[in-house]
């Protein structure tokens, strides 16, 4: 999922301070799963913002709504009936959702309530870790199903570097050396000779090197 974390409250207070009535929109997908921007977090943030602004003598009205997701324009349509009289919108979705709302309601300022972080998976309850950077040309098939681009601090495709110690990355004891993990996996699969294959320099055009990316499905696009 796309993971995110709520922005510091003082930043959000400054965004909404000038307004009388805002619409706070959550998202039922990724940000719900990582407890950053779902229905519950919308309730928590609305309450917190109200109480914070009350202390400086301001009463703000916050309309709360959570969409199924914010990255499909059809769902954003639901907000049309709620937008009347609203001065500004704050979205708790990832950057994709915030921008879709911004695109739809051109005449109102739209603010992000979370910092979108990374594409990751849950290691255990309450812990999410980066797994994928969307490089556009997945090499998991040759690295034992473990990604060195997302998980190596230096994104070495022919690692490990000389700083790998006891299975940990040189930058922190909390970070696994992914090349240790890949090597262990090769051993489990009996694929040690694969290690000797040199993975050639990456063509970053499939990643962000080619500019902002788009997928067009001719069979689906109207």
């Amino acid at each position: 999922m796309i993971t995110a974390e709520r922005k510091p409250l003082e930043e959000l207070i400054e965004y909404v301070r000038p307004f009388k009535r805002i619409l706070l929109v959550g998202c039922n997908e990724c940000v719900t799963v990582c407890s950053a921007g779902g229905r519950k977090e919308v309730g928590l943030l609305a309450s917190g913002l109200k109480m914070a602004l009350m202390q400086s003598g301001r009463n703000i009205e916050i309309r709360e709504h959570t969409l199924e997701r914010q990255c499909d324009p059809e769902y954003i349509d639901e907000l049309v009936s709620m937008i009347d009289g609203v001065d500004a919108v704050m979205s708790m979705a990832c950057g994709c959702g915030v921008q879709e709302i911004s695109r739809r309601f051109k005449d109102r300022p739209v603010f992000p309530a979370v910092n979108t972080k990374f594409m990751g998976a849950s290691e255990r309850q309450g812990v999410w870790a980066e797994r994928c950077q969307g490089c556009g040309n997945c090499l998991l098939g040759v690295t034992g199903g473990i990604c060195p681009i997302a998980r190596c601090s230096k994104r070495l495709m022919n690692g490990p570097c000389g700083g790998s110690v006891a299975g940990k990355c040189e930058i922190s004891q909390d970070v696994d050396c992914v090349w240790q993990l890949i090597w262990d996996r090769f051993k489990e699969l009996g694929l040690e000779e694969n290690y000797l294959n040199i993975i050639p320099a990456k063509d970053w055009r499939s990643a962000t090197g080619g500019g902002p990316r788009k997928i067009i499905r001719e069979d689906l696009a109207a």
Partner: protein, 150 residues
């Protein structure tokens, strides 16, 4: 503020804290009427949102009362509650209400005296801290000063 009577909300778990409150009552142990008890099946059921809303509606202090460590009827609901309370304390600091207005406490079902003691201590602590910073904006009225009598 003179004659400030704090409003305290106590989320009490059914198996321990609420039973202890009952026991305090049947033992005629007095504790301040400022404390409004909300019974929950387990302290772990108390959500961050419940706590924050309590403050939004005018509580000056909130506490979550659960079983003693290791004795939770639902295994570790009280541990989850404890971590959640810490999380909300930080949020309350961010908001400006102040994390010191929220506490996690533990007791067993038989500890009527402890229930009464904690209720009294927390009420006094909040009385000293003064009304919640948003008090004047809500215009909540202060409850009358009365003892709990049989």
């Amino acid at each position: 503020m003179e004659n400030f009577e704090p409003t305290i909300v106590a989320f009490c778990c059914h198996y321990c804290a609420y039973t202890a409150a009952d026991m305090a009552g049947s033992q005629r142990l007095t504790y301040p009427a400022n404390v409004k008890i909300i019974r929950v099946p387990c302290s772990g059921k108390v959500d961050a949102l419940h706590i924050v809303k309590a403050f939004e509606k005018g509580a000056d202090g909130v506490y979550v009362a659960g079983c003693l460590d290791g004795d939770c009827h639902f295994k570790n609901g009280n541990n989850r509650a404890s971590r959640r309370v810490e999380y909300v304390q930080k949020y309350l600091d961010e908001i400006g209400i102040g994390g010191e207005r929220l506490e996690m406490v533990n007791m067993s079902a038989g500890m009527g005296y402890r229930f009464a003691q904690i209720a009294t201590e927390i009420t006094e602590k909040i009385r000293k801290l003064g009304p919640s910073p948003i008090h004047s904006m809500i215009g909540a009225s202060c409850p009358a000063n009365s003892d709990l009598t049989a």
